[in-house]
């Protein structure tokens, strides 16, 4: 289906909603194709291929909101969706802060954001399967203790995002993605451990080689073998860069405008205050070409931008959509995010902690007794209080070296203290996805073990 056709459908749905009594309306259409090949033990395990579409409508009748969605894009299906949104708006309450962005806030950033690569369309399924097989084979080749595999997969997809509203905005963009991952199992005597590695890019050329992915995954699984459960103690904790990203996830939750106006974030009311160590600068930037958090406009039709969130340890901005901004008496930061149904939520662009100067090896070398964390488990982060307690796996650092594997322990503290207590920021910032952080050292946390 042509792009103009979907944009026209979105504009039509907005017009139909207005004709049925809505005072404002916005329509989202999403369309996507996916391909996935999984191999295991050198054989194809599954192939999946399909496409789907969906359409969502959100309307206002005065200060009341209603929303609906459908996967049936036939004229009857769209008509039912419009009637459904008008019907359900009847049960919601008047909300003085509800509404679309002001007309002068709408727009899109220009230029080639490199979100779509035509090369995705020409991927050959046989070659995709081959890549996954090579990644798994590379993992097996590293060491005879890599004796089993939970498989390797190659995934690719394209999607189209269309958005129109009754304030005159209409826009659309396409994205592409592909990824390769492998999950080898290492076994030595009674010890069995699994780890994984993946690479993700908009264009197949941007992927790490299958051999690199396989080797990295195998090394990660091997170094987990024969883990020790250490004694309970306080110790410095280093988050490997891929794991440090999870701290960015928590920072995002804490500067999320909805959590802030509800006072359910430990960073609520802290604008202008020192909330992290001097070395810490956190940026949200949805304008960097080619990255996974980039887009020309947000899900309310507001142009994407770069927002410094924490600068040299000082909290500078929350991340807001129109609703949260109005609740807080501020302006949207262009961070609206939504699926097909419901009101706009808040999402991040490329949300990252800026690189420091220390190579990760030097951070570890400076620690005589500490914990190098390579994976985390569970959901033990309380954004309201900042309380942090998660399962962890990694390596124990002794005299500046990674000495032995550690697992079945917890790390605990409070995010307030953890952010202020970041003692070292690595130089190894790398984007694979829309969250990124370099290696980070936190001065002290409680390690719960024996």
């Amino acid at each position: 289906m042509t792009e103009n056709h979907l944009l026209e459908m979105a504009n039509d749905a907005v017009r139909m909603a207005i004709a049925r009594g809505a005072t404002d309306a916005e329509c989202t259409i999403g369309e996507g194709d996916e391909f996935s090949a999984e191999v295991r033990m050198r054989e194809v395990e599954s192939l999946k291929e399909a496409g789907s579409r969906g359409m969502g409508l959100r309307i206002l009748v005065g200060k009341r909101t209603g929303s609906s969605y459908t996967s049936d894009l036939s004229p009857e299906g769209v008509d039912r969706m419009v009637r459904s949104a008008v019907e359900i708006a009847d049960i919601t309450s008047e909300d003085p802060h509800a509404g679309l962005p002001d007309a002068d806030e709408l727009g899109a950033i220009g230029g080639d954001l490199k979100l779509y690569s035509k090369a995705i369309e020409n991927l050959d399924p046989a070659r995709n399967i081959e890549r996954a097989k090579r990644a798994e084979a590379a993992a097996f080749a590293v060491d005879p203790r890599i004796s089993n595999s939970d498989g390797a997969s190659f995934d690719s997809g394209t999607s189209r995002h269309v958005f129109a509203n009754s304030r005159g905005f209409s826009g659309e963009y396409r994205t592409s993605s592909c990824s390769l991952s492998v999950s080898p199992v290492a076994r030595d005597g009674d010890s069995m451990e699994r780890d994984y590695w993946f690479t993700l890019a908009r264009d197949p050329e941007g992927l790490q080689t299958a051999e690199e992915v396989g080797r990295t995954a195998a090394q990660r699984a091997l170094r987990r073998l024969h883990p020790v459960k250490v004694e309970t103690r306080k110790a410095p904790v280093v988050f490997e860069s891929r794991i440090a990203r999870s701290l960015l996830d928590s920072i995002f939750d804490a500067v999320h405008g909805m959590s802030v106006y509800r006072h359910e974030s430990f960073l609520a009311g802290k604008l202008g205050e020192k909330v992290a160590a001097e070395e810490v600068t956190v940026i949200d930037d949805a304008t960097i070409p080619g990255l996974f958090g980039t887009s020309p406009f947000d899900d309310e039709g507001v142009p994407s931008r770069r927002t410094p969130v924490i600068e040299r340890g000082v909290l500078k901005s929350y991340l807001l959509n129109t609703y949260a901004a109005r609740k807080l008496g501020m302006k949207t930061t262009g961070n609206a995010s939504r699926g097909l149904g419901g009101n706009a939520g808040i999402g991040h662009g490329n949300f990252f902690l800026a690189a420091g100067v220390q190579p990760p090896g030097r951070i570890v070398a400076g620690i005589s007794d500490g914990f190098f964390v390579t994976s985390l488990m569970g959901f033990g982060v309380n954004i309201v209080t900042g309380d942090y307690s998660r399962g962890a796996t990694g390596m124990w650092i002794r005299n500046g070296e990674l000495a032995f594997a550690v697992s079945e322990v917890t790390i605990a503290g409070n995010l307030r203290d953890m952010l202020l207590n970041i003692e070292a920021v690595g130089s190894d910032l790398e984007f694979s996805g829309s969250l990124a952080a370099p290696t980070l050292k936190i001065g002290e946390m409680t390690v719960g073990g024996k």
Partner: protein
Amino acid sequence: MRFADSIFAGRFSITTQDLNRYLAEALSQGGDYADLYFEYLLTSSIGIDESIVKSATQGVSMGVGVRVIAGERTGYAYSDDLSPEKIRKAANVAAHIASGPSKIAKFDLNEGVRHNLYPVLTAPTETALADRVELVKRADRAARAYDPRVFQVQSSYADNLRHVLVATSEGVLTLDRQPLARLSVHALARRNGETPQQGHSGGGGRVELDFFLKDKPPEYFAREAAREAIAMLDAAEAPAGEMTVVLGPGWPGVLLHEAVGHGLEADFNRKGVSAFSGRIGQKVASELCTVIDDGTIHNRRGSLNVDDEGHPTQRNVLIENGILRGYLQDKLSSTLMGSASTGSGRRESYAHIPMPRMTNTFMLAGQSDPEEIVRSVPKGLYCANFGGGQVDITSGNFVFSASESYLIEDGKITRPVRNATLIGNGPEALKYVSMVGNDLRLDEGIGVCGKAGQSVPVGLGIPTVKIDRMTVGGTA
């Protein structure tokens, strides 16, 4: 319901001849087995925040997934368009996994007998919106009325009605109409200018709207959320390290889901990547532990008349008196392992390949009086409620996060402590179970289980249980 009376035959004019033709198309390149999964899903959700009903959504989605199995290989394609050309196209794409002459051309599709576990005449999704919005308004009022220190309340209500049709090349033709509803409440409480604390509650099932009007009204969940938030205002630092842990009844059954449930899903065991692989018949828990996964409990959130491969659900014994008895099997793994499906093949939607999953997982009641269990602990942790958990299938390590817990001192429950994660190892943790209460309780019905990117509703349950040794991830 008969096929002829279903929405698929009615609105979409699909006939059994059509189903036969699509299955033949799916097996046109060879293969051992094919199935079709048709889904028509109606959803609605309503949210209140700051006593304002800020959001309400209704949606409809539909589609068909076509699967072909050839040996260990699976081909899958789906379409959200139920026109004959699109379904045939999907069948042809899925067929490419196989290579060989077509083996089967005619399928004798028969509607088999099945359970009727949720004889819901009017699904909540089919009731008046005005009745449903009252649930969140009542929850909001009740949570606020509980205590003046409650200052923020959010409540959401969501329901769906899923019509499902499964047709397989083995002749199975099953239909199901699956209603589901849940109400949840989140409350924040604060004393003076101190840090707020939160409380959660919620419940539901495959029930009629009457469930929320008679059995478990919104006020029940609202008071529980508010109570938890208020209780946590006095929370001290949680302890760190190994100690005796007592789990309260109900939702703390998430322990079983993480510690043993996932590890017993047959796909992981077929591949030999689970910490439980090859351990059937071995002792993996204390003899006080019998763990069941039962998809046939009436009106429960995790129950299904048939699984998403058209197989009737059943009661499966996972661990009996400490001995590992069996795995949770779907079509593919059971065929490859030479056993039978346990009715555990589930999928999130038509766009997903089925895999072995849990339904309602719980431990049978024991002999001990719950109070006597607490009295027996000189020093430890009592966990009344949890958030979510996670497991590393291969090492067997699992975590689950306490959202309401208390110190046990000299046999008495004393101070509340802050949220802490508990960590253990699946095949080892239950060996330290030294007392099991006589108070088995199933959870209220809000569980969602995630695996390989697919979410499905599940149930949990456990009696009060004493575990002599488990690592608690606090700070004190």
